[in-house]
Symmetry: C2
């Protein structure tokens, strides 16, 4: 493989175009405007080969996922992303093609999300590739969405649909018996290329619609626990209301036991948020405007802990691991 | 080792104290003020075990070095650091003591440099530990020091002393025959715990003293090449003027061939910068004020490339690798 300097010059420097403060990656640090009354939102996530992705995964997809999971964190705080830093640790025998693929994936997605590379580091490792990305965004100072803002009586909402990514991972791992081909492809795609809900996050923050938000990465139940704990409240989740995609429904029809996966699987990167009851109409309009489903799936109340309620309003058993053990509620829920 | 959540809660969350925007690491992203008319400076560096540090190196020192090399990049742009994000990839069998040591080292240095942990990621790896740090600072919008600002006729300066760290590495690797004990300890310490020149960088930027700056990490000659190339100028470096510490002098007395190491070894983390001739007096005053040597060691002129000149003004041979082959100039220079 080419030397670090050449790799950066050839593959990464072009990704800085339009960002003068990146200095074409020729400086050790990048500079950007604080943006007047704006606050800056910053987050970092790391993907390790053999843990978060496989050696045979196309590097384009790995890069896009890495960027998107970070952008999802920016979305959850209502931020508008503008740049990122990339740190890559690669074994010396990595093919240059892999690095080139990484840069191609980043180029594609940074155009889609209007962000640019600001800096980073490219080093050798004696282990598997490790990719760290730090993403930066801006948000109006007092409009940041946090995890601890829910109040008792707030409605609980989720965007898009839940469970596709976790089912998609099972499809990719060949762990499901019968998977309709088109459905399998759609689910796998959602696992591989998550969609950060940036427009929604920004609208929720700017419009003051949401009181608290999180992106669903650990799993719907686990992430709701984060919101409930953050606000020192109890939350109930109405299993029958959870939005599920047509592909997931098709799969659940033959494998109803996978509803557990839907509720707890994670990697959805949808936004889970709370809002006052008085916002119901505004949120319904926002959903139409963004052409993105926003579904009311529960509410917050005084107390603590998360209850998952079945169709009849009775709680489903929830193990300490956060794993839901369903009591024959699969048909009602789907 | 404890679960990721507990590690973060126990060891990292305390490092966010005083930084409300870090939300105690309970959010996925942190938020900070853009700072009005200030610009934000951001940089990232990665250390890999087995490449940049050894398994037996104390984690406190690894952490401090990681933070300091990033702060040095902030210093080179004239920034005042305020926070950082830390991404750690660790093998599952890492002892918790190692992680605790890492946190102790960060705690010590973040107090010294008045920065706080803002976020990051802690993940598993099947390879050796990989530590990525992103540092953030602020600088007045139009005062950022860049690498491409030198003009023909500018003086070239360097802070502190050059060569200690590279010699210190040789000491640690036991690659030098006779090393006086106290000198060896002093040199090794400079390799292990670099000193980011933050006050100097900020003074150079705020006072408008410097036209361009870089921190010496690749080596004095190589980093001067960065400045010369950035400005499309030639630069000459006066070998006899390069400031060398008493410990390095003592070692060079018995190993004069190590002057090569001084000129090209790197890891000094001193600031190398250019200034107008008219700033000589101001810089001399600044050196006194900061109690830090600032030495004039060369100048920029029209043309290209870096010449290293010996005591008699004749150029020393410089190989393409950036490695200096001295022509019996060692005595004159030391």
């Amino acid at each position: 493989m080419a030397a670090e300097f050449e790799l950066i010059e050839t593959y990464l420097a072009p990704l800085t175009s339009g960002h003068a403060g990146a200095f074409g990656l020729k400086n050790d640090a990048a500079v950007f405007s604080g943006g007047g009354d704006k606050s800056v939102v910053v987050t970092a996530d790391t993907l390790v080969q053999g843990v978060h992705f496989l050696a045979e995964d196309p590097p384009e997809l790995v890069a896009r996922k890495l960027l998107r999971v970070n952008l999802s964190d920016i979305a959850a705080m209502g931020g508008k992303p503008f740049g990122y830093l990339l740190s890559v640790a690669l074994p010396p025998d990595s093919g240059e093609a892999w690095f080139a693929g990484l840069a191609r994936g980043l180029a594609e997605d940074q155009a889609a999300f209007r962000v640019g590379l600001l800096g980073g580091d490219t080093v050798s490792t004696v282990g598997p590739p490790v990719l760290s990305l730090t993403a930066l965004g801006r948000v109006s100072g007092d409009r940041v969405l946090r995890r601890d803002g829910a109040r008792a009586g707030d409605d609980l909402y989720v965007s898009g649909s839940i469970g596709d990514a976790a089912l998609g991972l099972l499809v990719l791992q060949d762990r499901l018996a019968e998977v309709p081909e088109a459905a399998g492809r759609a689910l796998a795609e959602r696992y591989r290329v998550p969609q950060p809900r940036l427009e929604l996050g920004q609208a929720l923050a700017e419009g003051g619609f949401a009181r608290t938000a999180i992106d669903v990465s650990d799993g719907l139940v686990a992430d709701l626990e984060h919101l409930a704990r953050g606000a020192r409240l109890a939350a109930e989740l109405w299993a029958a209301e959870i939005p599920v995609s047509p592909a997931a429904l098709e799969l659940l029809a033959t494998a109803p036991e996978q509803l557990e996966t839907v509720l707890t699987g994670g990697d959805d990167y949808e936004l889970l948020f709370s809002a006052r009851e008085s916002q119901r109409e505004s949120l319904s309009e926002l959903a139409q405007q963004l052409d993105l489903p926003i579904t009311r799936i529960g509410r917050f109340s005084k107390g603590e802990g998360v209850s998952v309620l079945g169709h009849d309003g009775a709680p489903l058993a929830l193990s300490r691991s956060g794993w839901v053990h369903l009591r024959d509620d699969s048909k009602k829920t789907s």
